[in-house]
C-alpha cells in the first residue's frame, strides 16, 4: 500500500507540491489527472527519488517504509517502478545487459539469487514474446534509435521483468498514438492482481479507456482537489479543469 501524507516539495524556491494526501491500496489502480503545471510530473519524480526536488514536509509510506529516505535504487528494490514519459537513450549499453543488471541488482537487494546469463535470457525472451516484440530488441542499445512506440514497449518490458509492486506511469503530456497507448495499457493490465497497484498520471482521459482506474484524483496547484470513481475522468474531459480549485 502507498500512503502519501501531506507531501510538500519544491524545486529551488518554487513550491510545486503543497500538501498531497493520497492512499493507493494494494490491487488498485489510481489515476491522477490535472491541468498543466499542477505538479503531476513532480509527484512522479519525488516518488521515484530524482535529484533536484526538495521535500519540505510530509512522508511517503510504501509497504510500511518511509521511502523518501531511500536512494532511487532502493525504492526500486522495494517495489517501485517509474515508467518514464520520455525513456532515456543509453548509447553503448546493450538492452539485455541493462535488463539483467537491473534485475540482478534488485534480486540481490531482496536477498534472492542472481540469474545467470542463460536463465536471464530465457526469462527475457519469454517477456519479449508476450509483449509482441522482436527478439533483436534485446541486442540493441537501450532506447537508441527506438521509435516512440518501441520506447514505450521497452518500458513495459522492464516493468514485466522487474515485477514491481507499484508502477508509476508518467504520461503527463506525451503525445502517445493509439498503438503506443495500447502498449502501455496492455503492460499494466497484464500485471493487474491483488499484489500490484499503479498510479497512472495523465493529462488526457483517453489512456483511461484502456487502463480502467479504480479511483480518479484531480491534482491542481499542488494538491489533490477531488477524488472519485472512474466516471470523474469523463466529467473532466467534458468540462475541463476550470473551477476545480474552488471545489
Amino acid at each position: 500500500m502507498l500512503e502519501i501524507k501531506n507531501l510538500h516539495a519544491r524545486i529551488g524556491e518554487k513550491e510545486i507540491l503543497r500538501g498531497v494526501n493520497l492512499v493507493v491500496p494494494d490491487g488498485e489502480i489510481h489515476a491522477i489527472m490535472g491541468p498543466n503545471g499542477a505538479g503531476k510530473s513532480t509527484l512522479s519524480y519525488v516518488l521515484s527519488g530524482r535529484d533536484g526536488y526538495e521535500v519540505t514536509e510530509g512522508e511517503v509510506i510504501y509497504d510500511g517504509q518511509n521511502i523518501l529516505e531511500l536512494p532511487p535504487e532502493d525504492r526500486a528494490a522495494a517495489g517501485l517502478f517509474l515508467a518514464f514519459q520520455y525513456p532515456v537513450e543509453l548509447p553503448g549499453v546493450g538492452n539485455a545487459n541493462f535488463l539483467r543488471t537491473a534485475l540482478n541488482a534488485i534480486r540481490r537487494k531482496r536477498g534472492e539469487e542472481e540469474l545467470d546469463a542463460v536463465a536471464f535470457l530465457k526469462l527475457a525472451r519469454a517477456a519479449v514474446k508476450s509483449l509482441h516484440m522482436k527478439e533483436d530488441f534485446l541486442k540493441r542499445n537501450v532506447n537508441v534509435g527506438f521509435s516512440g512506440g518501441e520506447k514505450k514497449r521497452n518500458e513495459m518490458l522492464q516493468m514485466a521483468l522487474l515485477q514491481p509492486g507499484l508502477a508509476i506511469l508518467d504520461e503527463t503530456d506525451s503525445g502517445l498514438d493509439i498503438d503506443a497507448l495500447k502498449i502501455v495499457a496492455d503492460g499494466v493490465n497484464a500485471l493487474r492482481g491483488p499484489k500490484f497497484s499503479a498510479l497512472v498520471i495523465t493529462h488526457y482521459q483517453r489512456l483511461l479507456d484502456h487502463i480502467v482506474p479504480d479511483v480518479v484524483h484531480v491534482l491542481s496547484a499542488g494538491r489533490i482537489v477531488r477524488s472519485g470513481p472512474k466516471e470523474l475522468a469523463l466529467e473532466l474531459e467534458a468540462h475541463g479543469y476550470a473551477g476545480l480549485e474552488a471545489a
Binding site: D51, P72, A76, L90, F98
Partner: protein
C-alpha cells in the same frame, strides 16, 4: 644522457616532466617474481627491464635484443637508445600468421629505478601478428620503452597495450610504425596506471591503401597525468587512418590528447578522421585536446571532432530508478562511453585483458 624534453617544446607543451627530472633513478634492482596474468598465450616476460627466460615461452620469431642507432631528434628515443640494454626483436617472415604473443613488463623495487626497453617488430609481406602488451609494477620507477615497427606490403599487425603501471611510476612510451601499401597497423592503448604517462605513436603510411588505427582509452584518477599523442603521416595516396580516443578523468587528473594528421602532396584520396572525447567525473579534472591537420594534397577527406562532457544526470537516474546502485550505474555509463574506442579490439584475449582492467575501475577509485 640527452636532456629530457621541456614544456618549451611544442610537442611537450601539456606534459611537464619536471616531476620525473627531480628524481634520481638508479639501475634496476634484481626483480622479485610477481604473480603474472593467467592467459593461455606464448609470452615474453621482462622483469625490471630484463628478459626473464624462465618465465617466457619459446617464440619462433623472437630474437635477442639488438642495439639500434637512433637517427631521430626525439629526446626520449635518444635517451632510450643511449641506455637500452634489452628488448625483443620480432621478425615475422612473409606470408606467416604468427598468431598472438603476450609481452609483459613487470617492475618492482624499493629505490627509484629506470629501465629502457627497446623492441623492434618487422612483418614481411602478408605476415600477421597480434601483440598484447601489459605493463604493471609496484613502486617508483621510470619505464621508457621504444618500439619500432616495420610492416611490409599487406602485413597485418594488431598491437594492443595495457598500461597499468604503479601509481607512483612514470611511463613514457614511443611507438613508431612504418606501414607499406595495403598493410594494417591496428593500435590500441589503455592508459590506467602511472603517476605520469605519455604514449606517443607515430605512423607513417608509405604505400597505397595502408591503414592505421591509433585508438586508445585513458582512465585517470587522483592526480594522475596521461598524455596520448599521435602523428599520422600520409605519404601515399588512398590511405585511411583513424584515431578514436576516449578519456575518463576523476579527481584532479589531467588528460592530454594531441593528434596530428599530415597529408603529403602526393597523398590524394586520403581518408583521415580523428575523434577525441573526454568524460570529466569531477570539477577538478582537466582535459587538453589539440588536433592538428596539415594538408598539402587537394583531394582529401580529413576531419576531427572533440567533445568534453560530464556524466548525464538523466541517464544516471534512469539506471538507478531500475534498481542499479549508483556506483554500478556510473561504471555502466563509463563503459558505454568507452565502447566506440574498444569496439575495434576483436581478439578475444586482448579484449578480455582490457575489459578486466576497465571493469570496476570506477568502484576502485
Amino acid at each position: 644522457m640527452t636532456a629530457l624534453p621541456t614544456k618549451k617544446l611544442e610537442a611537450w607543451r601539456y606534459t611537464d616532466l619536471r616531476p620525473l627530472a627531480s628524481i634520481e633513478f638508479s639501475a634496476p634492482p634484481p626483480a622479485a617474481i610477481p604473480a603474472l596474468p593467467e592467459i593461455d598465450l606464448p609470452r615474453l616476460v621482462f622483469l625490471n627491464g630484463v628478459l626473464a627466460k624462465e618465465l617466457s615461452s619459446p617464440f619462433a620469431y623472437a630474437r635477442n635484443f639488438q642495439a639500434i642507432a637512433e637517427d631521430t631528434a626525439q629526446p626520449l628515443a635518444l635517451i632510450n637508445a643511449e641506455t637500452a640494454q634489452d628488448g625483443v626483436t620480432l621478425n615475422i617472415p612473409a606470408g606467416v600468421d604468427a598468431g598472438t604473443l603476450l609481452l609483459i613488463s613487470h617492475a618492482s623495487g624499493d629505490a627509484p629505478f629506470a629501465f629502457h626497453l627497446r623492441h623492434r617488430i618487422t612483418l614481411g609481406e602478408g605476415a600477421q601478428l597480434t601483440l598484447i602488451e601489459i605493463a604493471k609494477g609496484e613502486g617508483v620507477y621510470w619505464h621508457d620503452p621504444v618500439t619500432d615497427i616495420e610492416l611490409a606490403q599487406g602485413a597485418k599487425f594488431a598491437h594492443i597495450r595495457l598500461q597499468d603501471e604503479s601509481r607512483e611510476a612514470f611511463h613514457l612510451a614511443t611507438i613508431r610504425a612504418r606501414v607499406a601499401g595495403a598493410a594494417v597497423y591496428d593500435h590500441f592503448t589503455a592508459t590506467i596506471g602511472a603517476r605520469l604517462s605519455r604514449t606517443e605513436i607515430g605512423a607513417v603510411l608509405t604505400g597505397t591503401g595502408a591503414l592505421a588505427h591509433l585508438n586508445g582509452v585513458q582512465l585517470l584518477a587522483g592526480t594522475q597525468h596521461g598524455d596520448f599523442t599521435t602523428v599520422v603521416a600520409h605519404k601515399a595516396p588512398g590511405c585511411p587512418s583513424r584515431q578514436t580516443v576516449k578519456s575518463v578523468l576523476a579527481g584532479t587528473a589531467r588528460g592530454v590528447f594531441q593528434g596530428r594528421i599530415e597529408v603529403d602532396r602526393v597523398a590524394q584520396q586520403t581518408d583521415g578522421f580523428q575523434l577525441s572525447q573526454a568524460l570529466l567525473l569531477s570539477p577538478g579534472a582537466e582535459m587538453d585536446i589539440k588536433p592538428e591537420l596539415e594538408i598539402f594534397a587537394d583531394d582529401v577527406k580529413c576531419s576531427h571532432g572533440a567533445t568534453i562532457g560530464a556524466l548525464d544526470a538523466e541517464q544516471l537516474f534512469y539506471l538507478r530508478s531500475r534498481g542499479i546502485p549508483e556506483d554500478q550505474a556510473r561504471s555502466m555509463l563509463i563503459r558505454a562511453f568507452l565502447e566506440e574506442a574498444l569496439e575495434p579490439v576483436t581478439q578475444p584475449q586482448a579484449r578480455a585483458v582490457l575489459e578486466e582492467a576497465i571493469d570496476g575501475w570506477w568502484v576502485k577509485q
